[in-house]
Point group: C2
Chain length 258, copies 2
């Protein structure tokens, strides 16, 4: 059995006339070649809510509709480089957390011509994102529960990314990728609660988070959101790297969460 969601796509079948090469073949000449695109599922956290960065598609088909940011893979470019290029174009960012999610390949997923899409799952610090640049693409941040209808199979991609976020964040400290350099425990908790659409006991939460040894308490307090003020913490980046895989079972029984 394939452990893979069902596709539920357009069923416009445009069969292009691409006859096989019937001359004696050298190399792989009789094989079909495909367009390959990358699409980025970009998560951000504004301190309150988890959000997704979407653009209004600038060309046909489906021009003007909401879509993930993507682009075709170029001739001498790996998928990773293509995804990095696309992300940079939209956000101005480099060196962000980026991970291959899934290769989508339904022959009819793009009605113009068969195109595979390699999706990349991306976590960015929303504060470092360059608003200016994204204006060119009519980009907007959408809260996860208010995602508009997207073109092609992009909604399915987003669903898969959300699932992956929950899965992975239960096992590895990736959510710090969404936070600014300094953050407070209450902020961190709001983030986790958003990802798991749940609430945690703050005493247990802080005990658990601090027991990882990943956080370094700062002397200053954040005083915007409460009278008393909450201490800032920074991520210990050295430990973050060494403990990345040792973070397993951070969220107990993720499947039980409502």
């Amino acid at each position: 059995m394939f452990h893979r969601k069902k596709f539920c796509y357009f069923h416009i079948s445009i069969v292009l006339a691409t006859p096989y090469n019937t001359t004696f073949m050298t190399g792989y000449s009789h094989q079909k070649r495909f367009l390959v695109a990358v699409d980025c599922i970009i998560f951000g956290f504004d301190g309150q809510q988890l959000k997704l960065l979407l653009i209004q598609r600038g060309f046909e088909p489906e021009k003007g509709k909401w879509s993930l940011m993507g682009g075709f893979v170029e001739k001498e470019e790996s998928f990773e480089l293509a995804a990095g290029r696309v992300l940079h174009k939209l956000t101005g960012l480099e060196n962000v957390y980026m991970e291959q999610l899934y290769a989508f390949s339904d022959p009819n997923r793009d009605p113009i011509e068969r195109t595979a899409s390699i999706t990349y799952f991306t976590l960015i610090d929303i504060n470092q994102y360059k608003h200016q640049i994204s204006k060119d693409y009519h980009a907007e941040w959408f809260p996860l529960n208010k995602i508009p209808k997207l073109i092609f199979d992009h909604s399915e991609m987003v669903e898969m990314a959300k699932e992956k976020l929950r899965y992975k964040a239960a096992l590895h400290p990736i959510l710090f990728e969404l936070l600014p350099e300094k953050f407070t425990l209450p902020q961190l908790q709001v983030l986790y609660e958003g990802v798991y659409d749940s609430t945690f006991d703050k005493r247990n939460f802080s005990r658990k988070v601090l027991s990882t040894g990943l956080l370094v308490k700062q002397k200053e307090k954040e005083k915007e959101s409460s009278k008393r003020g909450a201490f800032y913490f920074k991520l210990d980046k050295r430990k973050y790297k060494t403990k990345f895989d040792a973070f397993l079972n951070f969220i107990p029984n993720p499947h039980k969460l409502k």
Copy 2:
């Protein structure tokens, strides 16, 4: 940062003459098209050892060298279908555990022409595998610690698959996919110990395994491998499906295992 292993490939750069279409474009006509292949990393368990099914490549380049079983994606075929087709061709099996692993895309990974490879991670019951068919491909099972040198980036694919097997089996009961319908607890333990290259206490192991409620004890015993004989168990397939995600943290602290 990309959370991705480095590539370490051939560096034969054959740049083919494929000029862009300079006519006015309709659709995506100015974009580069690629060959796409699927490759299957096929795991089996013979009761003693974890093994990988490899073939001797039947065509150039690298004809005669050891390789994963693969094939080009056809015109109207999704990657999933292509992987299923390739697997069926080699093993005669259908409806086996198969999961997309990673899309490999280094522009120089195939020296003849740029080809992306979408890899699929596969677990089969080695007893149901059709030896006859595989003779045509000069296929052979190799113990995981005796994998020969493979073509292109196939060794890297195998490494990634081994890692994924360990990761996933710590969280989900996928290893049952490698076992025949009836198996004993000692057999199961040998399998887990093989995957984690480690040893477990059999009292703790059986307690934990049985506490999942996934196993149904049979009346018969397996009497080949011991005088006393060990009771057979069957997987409760209904519970397997419902509890697939609830199996998390099966292997405690997988990262600590030596």
